[in-house]
Amino acid sequence: MTAAADLLTVTDLRKTFDVSPPWVTRVATGQGRQVLRAVDGVSFAIPQGGTLSVVGESGCGKTTVARCVAGLTPPSGGEIRFRGAVVDAGQGGVPSWRKDIQMIFQDPYGSLNPRWRVGRIVGDPIVGLGLGHSRAEVKERVAALLSDVGLSPADADKFPHEFSGGQRQRIAVARALASAPSLVVCDEPTSALDVSVQAQILNLMRDLQDEHGLTYLFISHNLAVVDFVSDRVAVMYLGRIVEIADRDAIFDRPAHPYTRILIRSAPDLVEIGARRAPMQGEVPNPIAPPSGCTFHPRCPLATERCRTEAPALRPFEAGQVACHRPGEAL
């Protein structure tokens, strides 16, 4: 997997959360500690200038992967390497990767400090990482960044509440680009936006990638958006990657039953009024995941083997699939 040209490599990433009830309750009920495996052995690589998307339903671990890669959450296991060097959230000082990896969040309202003017919001990483040498230089850089994202340099004097949702997400993009990062981790960057505004932001992200050679780790639950932005796609289910392949292979020849049903059940504008066979059941409780293949209770292909033996992620056709019956007709 690991090629020399990969900017980011993630190997066997694990993150567990202790979700035990309080000690008193545990003693009273005789329950043990409860551990939630939010990310359970995830590996992928992104080449310089590429876009890898992670797609899946809520709670499957997308945000946790994003936060680990951005160095915001320390992993419980595995390794994240950026340009070959280990990314470690616990590292002291300002490690070299800090300015190189930035993150854009889903909520364009919550992610900007409402009491700061836009100029300070965007300039903060420049000052914080010691990248600007004078106030004038920072100001100039902020003006250039605002122009880059389609805002006006004069917007630096305004407050976030004076902007629409789409404009706020532009501010968040400008802030993320302030330290001239190579990797931008985008967690559902357009999920809170209307489609017309989403189109503006997705086009902007593509332009910035072309101009600055950015690399994206893109998180989304929207398959159509993922098809638009990605070179490569990883499909997650209950903390694991169940299928990973190039974009065209994932959408044109999906092999995992989960991927296939997800694609099939996404509402589109082509088959108007069409009844679609929906996916069975709901995402199981991640604290007590099903045995074997964790997708087996919802899978139309499940057999006895699926109930007992967890399928490993193995090469299949153009990608990798974790399924005992990859590519079989549903």
Binding site: E57, S58, S164, G165, G166, Q167, D194, V195, S196, V197, Q198, A199, Q200, L202, N203, R206, H221, L223, A224, V225, D227, F228, D248, F251, D252, I261, L262, I263, S265, A266, P267, D268, L269, V270, I272, G273, A274, R275, R276, P278, M279, G281, E282, V283, R298
Partner: protein, 341 residues
């Protein structure tokens, strides 16, 4: 496709039968400190019996206000300030509160985005369902309880007898939305206002709820006003769609017509901006700018400042309706052909 749906799509329902619900020149305003701002500005539409009417548009376009006005749930400082709403030909916008309450839940029920707000967390599902059934039907006691079990079974709750005693928090998000739907069905309504009923759900569960609503409407001849910002959901489920922009309906018609041959430049922009699996575009079509806030809606066609086809007359007065069958668009240039998707 159901018989009702087929009829709705083939003919102009306005000439078919009497509408179940009709809004005429509906205006909803917010009045604060003596100053009024119109959030919904003179909207007219009909809903036929058994019909699913989609209401789509950007955040803040006024979709929820239109739906809430129909249910009579607007509270000060919000109020209907002009126009009227007719239910089976009878005005309901000026009903006294007691009559309105009788109408609500019984004839017109609501489903909201967040199932938790519709359910009372401290009462069991049984208590909430039985209360609603007893309030709106002649069923009492054991008969009401049997009806509650039947409703839970109908909306796809496994082991309904057992789940009756459960509390809302004991259900998953998808199951909770099913309970809310059961509650809405309790009075055997003829019209359901569903405001973003699947927006908070996972894609897989969204598909299940869409199919459930489709079956229930066909089975019970129930009409739905489906409020959502998701055109995909509308294209899958609705018979007709109304596109809202800055407090007005700018286009309304059969879903296939509006999606494949949109006439209003805003609808065209909206359709083109939606990414689709498999299209592999280099760029998405984007609409420049943003929708105006209700207190700063420009004169004339509110879309004119963002419209690629705008002419001077667009900003002067309201454009007349372009009409073809039951497809309507409020644009001077709607007649000039359309994009085909």
């Amino acid at each position: 496709m159901t018989a009702t749906a087929a009829r709705l799509e083939s003919d102009d329902p306005a000439h078919e039968a009497a509408p179940l619900l009709e809004a005429r020149g509906l205006t909803v305003s917010l009045t604060r400190e003596g100053r009024g701002v119109d959030l919904v500005r003179g909207v007219s539409f009909t809903v036929m019996p058994g019909e699913i009417l989609g209401l789509v548009g950007e955040s803040g376009a006024g979709k929820s206000m239109m739906g809430t006005a129909v249910t009579g749930l607007l509270d000060r400082p919000l109020a209907i300030t002009a126009g009227e709403i007719l239910y089976r030909g009878r005005r309901i916008d000026n009903l006294p509160p007691s009559e309105l309450r009788a109408l609500r839940g019984r004839h017109i029920a609501t489903i909201f985005q967040d199932p938790l707000t519709a359910l009372n967390p401290v009462f069991s599902v049984e208590r909430q369902l039985v209360e609603t059934i007893e309030a709106h039907t002649p069923l009492r006691g054991p008969a009401a309880r049997d009806e509650a079990v039947a409703l839970l079974a109908r909306v796809g709750i496994p082991a309904p007898e057992k789940r009756l005693a459960s509390y809302p928090h004991e259900f998953s998000g998808g199951m909770r939305q099913r309970v809310v739907i059961a509650l809405a069905l309790a009075g055997r309504p003829e019209l359901i206002i569903a405001d973003e009923p699947t927006t908070a759900l996972d894609v897989s569960v969204q598909g299940q709820i869409i199919e459930l609503l489709r079956d229930l409407c066909a089975e019970r001849g129930m009409a739905v006003i489906l409020v959502t910002h998701d055109m995909g959901v509308i294209a899958t489920l609705a018979h007709r769609v109304a596109v809202a922009y800055a407090g007005r309906i700018v286009e309304i018609g059969p879903v296939a017509e509006v999606v494949r041959h949109p006439r209003h430049p805003y609808t065209r922009g909206l359709m083109a901006a939606i990414p689709a699996i498999g299209t592999r575009l280099k760029r998405l079509t984007q609409i420049p700018g943003a929708m105006p806030r209700p207190d700063a809606v420009p004169p004339g066609c509110a879309f004119a400042p963002r419209c690629p086809l705008a002419e001077p007359r667009c900003s002067q007065g309201l454009p007349p309706d372009w009409v073809e069958g039951n497809h309507r668009a409020a644009c001077w240039r709607a007649g000039e052909g359309s994009d085909t998707r």
